[in-house]
Amino acid sequence: MSEEFRRVDGRKPDEMRSYKIKAHVLKNADGSAEIRLGKNWIVAAVYGPKEHFPKFEVLHDRAILNCRYHMTPYSTSERKSPKPSRREIELSKVIRSALEQAVILEEYPEMSIDVFIEVLQADGSTRVASITAAAVALADAGIPMKDLVVGCSAGKINGRIIVDVGEYEDKEGEADLPIAIMPNLRRVVLLQMDGKLTHEEFKKAFDMALKGAYKLYEEQINALKSVIKNMEVLEGEDRE
């Protein structure tokens, strides 16, 4: 047997980093969640539904979902300017678009729902980790949803297809494929790719990312179940 390929951090190609999701981590938010994926540490907060301002922007048949993906200045090894970059604006848009597929916005016409995602420490694959936390925060806020949304990435480094792309692999790798899905409805709601992949490699990477997403989905379920199981020790009030 040939020696198995190991990645920079010792992982096998199809091995995820360690992960932990916690729901209901902020007292003030209507819903919140935190994800740790490798060294990623990301917090998501949901406020609303609430009145939308300015009034002329209001949608009369559904709520507006606002989404901000933001990296804190200290989240990366080189300080990042706190001003939203073009990358952050684009990611906010694709994350919002993915969450919009799951949230039943029609329940709250003229209102808005705010999703704030703060990357406290970045370690590769932040967008899919962010969306995974945001979906848990939405469920925690009691926002009606058709399904959760969960994301995972795959990539290619030194010619090998890998799952859950870490920071080094993101920088040095040949391709990056972040996806997010609605796990029960089996729909892809975020799909981006950069780098180079043949059709065959794409298929392999896509399947690996899917598998990773379903693993994280189990963790989302655990996080939400613990919210209810822990009710006795949690502060039960909201919207004071």
Partner: protein, 282 residues
């Protein structure tokens, strides 16, 4: 996207969207096109004399102009041995009733980043050859494009204009600049003798819309509003994928692969149109 929530649209735009929806339900498209048929494509290069390279592309009624400029600049600290490529696109206020002047909104940012990604990830330009002095002076290439008239499928049109402008650009001869490295401050980059830009690849973006579980290519503006999902898939010269962006809605797992196959077929078609205009990888 323009027209989200049916705002900022003229009555005729609104009526067109309704018409598109009705025709889709009958299995038809508004301009009698087949589902997998592009609108007429017209490519004109070197349309702007003052730029190093330029192109005007029309895709049906969508019109894009792209221009290329070279400057001397300092490389990014994490890639001291590479030239810099900056791709930025904006929708001009001329483009439609709803288009606004001002800083680019998130859709414009997405548009330019998707075009950027195709060019960058396909490694179309040999950026590592654009180094004049390691870590200090490199070529900084600006690729700017503008939507002059918006009738949908801005990404495919902008991608065609961008690659056409780059592929036909005449760049300042780097050997000349290197020979005059001691007089860099007095060099006027516009006056340096010019040579053709060498390209290694041609990324081709194909955007598909999904309505009633059927794919269409090259959606018009009204079709973009009417479809449930939109995805852009970019292929390299060798048929590899080099960029994907789900722009709107969602797809089933199977539809992802269906979309890739269609995009591959259409990419070959667009490539041959570029070739007819003398644009190809040598």
């Amino acid at each position: 996207m323009r027209g989200e929530g049916f705002r900022g649209l003229t009555l005729s735009e609104l009526l067109t969207i309704k018409q598109v929806e009705k025709l889709f339900s009958e299995g038809r498209r508004i301009d009698e096109r087949g589902f997998l048929e592009f609108r007429e494509i017209e490519i004109n290069t070197n349309v702007i004399e003052k730029a190093f390279g330029s192109a005007r592309v029309s895709l049906g009624d969508t019109v894009v102009v792209a221009g290329v400029n070279f400057e001397l600049g300092t490389p990014f600290p994490d890639s001291p041995d590479k030239g810099i490529l900056i791709v930025e696109g904006e929708v001009l206020p001329t483009a439609s009733f709803g288009a606004e002047a001002g800083p680019p909104n998130e859709y414009e940012i997405e548009l330019s980043r998707v075009v950027d990604r195709g060019i960058r990830e396909s490694e179309m330009l040999p950026l590592e050859e654009y180094v004049i002095k390691h870590g200090e002076v490199v070529y900084k290439i600006f690729l700017d494009f503008n939507i002059i008239n918006d009738d949908g499928n801005l990404i495919d049109a902008a991608n065609l204009a961008a690659v056409a402008a780059l592929a036909t650009a005449k760049m300042p001869d780097i050997n000349y600049v290197k020979e005059h490295i001691d007089e860099l401050n007095s060099i006027n980059i516009k006056e340096v003798p010019k040579v053709g830009v060498k390209i290694r690849d041609l990324p081709i973006a194909v955007t598909l819309g999904l309505k009633n579980n059927k794919f269409i290519v090259d959606p018009t503006f009204a079709e973009e509003i009417a479809v449930e999902s939109l995805i852009t898939i970019t292929h390299t010269n060798k048929g590899e994928l080099c960029s994907i962006q789900l722009l709107k809605g969602g797809l089933t797992f199977e539809q992802v692969f269906e979309a890739i196959n269609i995009a591959y077929e259409k990419n070959i078609e667009l490539r041959s149109i570029l070739e007819r205009n003398g644009i190809k990888v040598i």
